[in-house]
Symmetry: C2
Subunit: 717 residues, 2 copies
């Protein structure tokens, strides 16, 4: 268990980094009283929202924990509770750092771009390292306790179920947080824009707009807290699934079992260190290329991770990188073999080097996704410029071109993911895919840092505007924020891309579990079985339905905001005159209630769908077809969801930056007809990229994990 202990220590390094860096950030200046007052209102609103959100989720969580306890026993229930609580904690910390750094970033931007960047990026890095560190610690400590303290074998069913339950807890909380936060932020944003920019003709972030504080609160609870919970979930599920797959598939490992199960943790641990080192390379170096500075940091992390991962594998395998593991037991790791033939294949296993190369595939894939996302959402390239140009001929053509780009943007990531699947599978079968996914997630600390930086700068701009700071400050925060649109899109593409790999790993866990729990049942997962097609279709439907619910929720809640603001304007003419202060808290409260009400039903969709499909198809066509349809549902949800999520997140980012590109003085600049059209596109893109799209990622995981738990519960019952 040395490897696990080392991983725990490396996880603690992340926590220490977070602690030390947050002291640095908090010691920075907070500007003038006006700024502090505004920041205080944002902080208050965000805390009030998260409190109420977690109280609601808590109630759902208690019910689900009881169900897990009833069907799977106390240890799984504890796993579920740990996963949920830490997922919530990750979100809470992210929000807390964010609401304290925004005003400090605005203050720092008064001194210069580099100062603003340093402060905002450090704030992001704190969230990033804490997300990765907490996720690593959650799994590592729990695993250590179960194996070393409670004395279970590492591949004991109790341990496997507990790891899955831990992932379930993380996913369940994260879908609520992603969706609730996403609805909050976009309802406030869209509502504020509609009634402020469009109706009243006042600029964004104007303090006379009663929805302006809600809008800024939204950045923190959606883009920051929701995102942090989401990435926490992605990390736990991916690393956990790799460990579970190791336990299920590699049954002939002997003494290597524990090191091999701990290896994904160690990879996560060493990459925390490389991520921390990378953060110190995010520097402008004299120029003003903010994106370039970000890239420098990421590249350093990625390059350092290569020897680090090699070292981790080398250490876990005691320096033996070339002996093959697996063998006959790995039959269903091989391409041509199906469950029915398990054990008959003579395909050999894979070596430590194979795992290393597979991990490299994951690192390269991460780089490719970042690069592709920048191409589709950056202002320097064809996609964003084509949307900006289409804005010249009006609202309609802006939206048409935006939709065209959003559809197109799925192609390159899909091809990259497909290439990643093929190469890593050729290297080491399913374990290769699992290691590619694990290596992707190992960089989570750095990727989340890039993302969490965005809402901080966005808020900083809002505070600068509302506090009436000099225009030059706003210009600096705007420069920082433009990059935020791309980095936000990057994280979403990264999360959904890794979900594509993780879903294959989870599906393998599902089929392996099935063979273990129901050895006599001949489940036909062939595409020739119509119940497989039925499952694929129903699975692919889920992200559409889920996306629709998310979009509708934002539209409805934004409408409520518009009505509330209109009432406030009508009730007190002093607001527009600037003589009396609008009731910010009232709007925040309204959006809070709306978001929490709207998040419940869509979040339950992926929890209930697998259960309903299994029982319905079993009733119609027998248990074997029920399991076949359920398995197909799991892949249908990724096949459908990958495209929905990629198109929404990249498309939304492109719309947003097309508006920014016009605001930079192109195609007529601010106030032109093209700009008005671009504002429409941005509004459409808002719920696309920040509500419906990103929530698809936890949705995919939940569907898969619920299926695994259903199997365990059916086997136990």
């Amino acid at each position: 268990m040395n490897l696990v202990l080392i991983s725990i220590v490396l996880g603690l390094v992340a926590i220490v980094y977070g602690f030390v860096t947050s002291r640095q950030v908090l010691s920075s200046g907070t500007g003038n009283d006006k700024m502090r007052e505004i920041a205080g209102a944002i902080q208050e609103g965000a805390q009030a929202y998260l409190k109420r959100q977690y109280a609601t989720i808590g109630m759902v969580g208690v019910v689900v924990a009881a169900i897990v306890f009833f069907f799977l026993g106390p240890i799984s229930a504890i796993g579920f509770v740990i996963g949920s609580i830490l997922s919530g904690v990750a979100g809470f910390i992210g929000m807390n750092i964010s609401v304290r750094s925004n005003v400090r970033t605005a203050a720092a931007a008064q001194s210069g771009l580099q100062q603003g960047l340093t402060l905002a990026f450090r704030a992001g890095a704190i969230t990033g390292m804490l997300v990765a560190g907490l996720a690593l610690l959650a799994i590592a400590v729990f695993f250590y306790y179960l194996v070393e303290v409670a004395g279970y074998a590492a591949n004991d069913r109790t341990v496997i179920d507990a790891l899955i339950a831990l992932a379930f807890g993380a996913s369940l909380i994260s879908i609520f947080a992603r969706l609730g936060g996403g609805i909050f932020t976009k309802a406030a944003d869209v509502g504020a824009d509609l009634v402020g920019k469009v109706e009243a003709g006042i600029p964004e972030d104007d303090p006379r707009n009663p929805a302006v504080i809600a809008d800024n609160v939204g950045d923190n609870v959606g883009d920051c807290a929701g995102m942090a919970a989401d990435l926490f979930e992605t990390y736990v599920v991916t690393v956990g699934a790799t460990m579970v797959l190791t336990a299920l598939l590699l049954t002939g490992l002997g003494d290597l079992l524990i090191p091999m199960m701990a290896l994904p943790l160690l990879i996560g641990g060493v990459c925390i260190v490389t991520s921390i080192i990378g953060t110190y390379f995010v520097k402008l170096g004299g120029g003003t290329n903010v994106m370039g500075a970000m890239y420098k940091g990421f590249l350093v992390t990625a390059i350092l991770s290569v020897p680090a991962i090699f070292g981790a594998i080398w250490f876990a395998l005691s320096g033996d990188m070339t002996t093959e593991m697996g063998g006959a037991n790995l039959a269903n790791v091989d391409a041509g073999a199906s469950l029915a033939e398990e054990g008959t294949s003579s395909i050999a296993g894979f070596t430590g080097m194979d795992l290393f190369w597979s991990s490299l595939v994951g690192l390269v894939l991460t780089g490719l996704i970042i690069w592709i996302t920048e191409y589709y959402t950056g202002t320097n390239f064809r996609p964003v410029r084509s949307i900006a140009k289409a804005s010249e001929t009006g609202h309609g053509t802006n939206v048409i071109q935006g939709l065209a780009i959003s559809l197109e943007s799925t192609a390159l990531p899909t091809l990259a993911i497909v290439a990643g699947i093929i190469i890593s599978f050729q290297l080491a079968g399913l374990m290769g895919i699992a290691y590619a996914a694990t290596a992707m997630l190992a960089l989570a600390g750095m990727v989340v840092a890039l993302d969490a930086y965005g809402p901080v700068t966005d808020n900083a701009g809002g505070i600068a505007e509302m506090a009436g700071l000099d225009d030059s400050v706003r210009e600096k925060t705007d420069a920082l924020d433009a990059v935020g649109n791309t980095t936000k899109a990057v994280t979403k593409g990264y999360a959904i891309g890794s979900a594509g790999l993780a879903a294959l790993v989870l599906f393998a866990a599902y089929t392996t579990d099935l063979a273990e729990f129901f050895p006599g049942l001949d489940v036909d997962f062939s595409l020739e079985n119509p119940y497989v097609i039925v499952g694929l279709l129903l699975g692919a439907l889920l992200p559409y339905l889920f996306g629709s619910m998310g979009m509708t929720a934002v539209g409805r809640a934004a409408g409520d905001v518009v009505k509330d603001v209109r009432e406030q304007f009508a009730g007190d003419s002093g607001i527009m005159a600037g003589t009396s202060r609008p009731d910010y808290a009232r709007t925040v409260d309204l959006v809070t209630k709306a978001a929490i009400k709207e998040m419940i039903i869509p979040s339950l969709l992926p929890v209930l769908a697998p259960i309903v499909v299994y029982f319905a198809i079993t009733a119609i066509a027998g248990q074997a077809n029920g399991f076949a349809a359920l398995g197909a549902l799991l892949l249908g949800v990724i096949v459908g969801g990958l495209f929905v999520a990629l198109s929404m997140t990249a498309g939304g980012g492109a719309w947003d930056n097309a508006k920014k590109y016009i605001e930079d003085g192109n195609h007529g600049g601010k106030g032109s007809e093209a700009h008005k059209a671009a504002v429409t596109g941005d509004t459409v893109g808002d719920p696309y990229k920040d509500t419906a799209g990103p929530a698809v990622n936890p949705m995919i995981k939940i569907t898969n994990i619920v299926a695994l738990l259903l199997l365990a519960a059916l086997a136990a019952g």
Copy 2:
């Protein structure tokens, strides 16, 4: 071969109906000189476009015919040529009827709503019956010739390949026609609206707008000719695939082989008669409920088809509805069996009654899809009204709500299709699914009639406007046209829904062919094979990429229209003053060239993708995985394409009717801010519903058929 001869006679009945009814329509009055002049310009433009389109397609067709000839021999090449030519003829006839009926409908609407409805619907019915009749004749005559004259066994490879090649010809032409026509109609429509309604502030169909004739031409070449070619293709592929599957799967039929292969033709034949009867029930009956009149006609057809289909099956099986067919040879018709186990299952076959009930599933599914489509696109229900209401808060919320509805609208049709698959499969295995699809398509005559009616009324409205007829005439044509939006959406939902079933039939043909051509090859279609996942992902990508290309093409071509019209306005100030006539032909010519240029590359995507994927994966992971990935691609394209097509077609229809609903005086009516937002939504919906969405249907078929031909070519080579 009696059944085939009867089918041929019934097919000729459709042609006779078309001939007789077109004489009735053409004998109707054509209004005044001004109307005739306008109609003449539209006619000229449409003919010029189709001529050039078919000339271009012809060149592609000759190359493909040569390739088919080289790899599959002369008979398949003849099949390909017949399929292509008749698909072109179907489109050409549809357009020719449409451009002659528009002006007559405008003239008839001067007498009353019923007169306008009768004329427009008859015009639609001519197209409908000719599409169904020509499709039926194409297969029946070719099959008769091959078996009776050329002397091949009905299940001879030559016959099977020839039927597949026939379907390929139909599909290839139809994707060009759908896409080229779709780009033409929407580029002209969007361009005319942008520069006319938005920039110049002149109403739709104002004769001063140089793009106005191009817009009306578009209705005929896109919504009419393109749609007719598409439905011709859908008919040929579905009925042909059912025959091919019968030949491939039911190897122990003996004397029943020919009757069973001819039965799908006979079902098509009897339903032509029920469709013709149904057309005479499309009457207002005193009220003004146009949609109700349409429903009456459809319901009569559907109800009469029940005994007609029963009679056809009864006749084909010589009255024996209860003896089981199939048996051991039907192993892979059964749920639990995979190819590997073929022949080992003891599942019995199915009876004539089972086929009858399966056909009923198809009829019910058609009714359900119509009902669901009306719910999502009709002005009386929540979806359209929610978009109209969202227009009050601006362009952005209109588009957000429209996208939400478009995502949501996939749910009920998918559930209906899934239920259809399960029930028909439970009844008679894959043959049940094939018969459900065949019964759906048997109603094509009636469904196309409902659809082809739309562009006629749309044009009639345009002519009434341009000729300066009394406002009451335009009101009547508008009432007729509003229903057209829904019926157009219905046909698309119907075509893509039937494609969902047909794709399963085509996939079964693929796997059966594979087992026959490569008996030693153990192809693993299980979801556990990562190459299957790769295929699913790449397949699901195709409709996204295709949709993106279609949307971009419309945007680009519409931009050209805007520029052209601006130039015309700038060059001659008399145009806006109404003293000089704009150069309509110049704009028509410009759109023609743009549409034809833009249609080529996207149309080749589904032709080339299966070939590239097969060879790429074979090179990487061997032939078995190449075939597995290719098979998965076929299902991926339907799993992805179904949702893309359903969401685009229903969403676009909903946007269009939300605008109409506002124009009827709701939410502020014409000219209000809500109306402006609704115009934006309508513009966005245009390429969604008329270009990208509907072309997905032939795209799915082509991918499948190319895979079948690739198999045959590989086996022959």
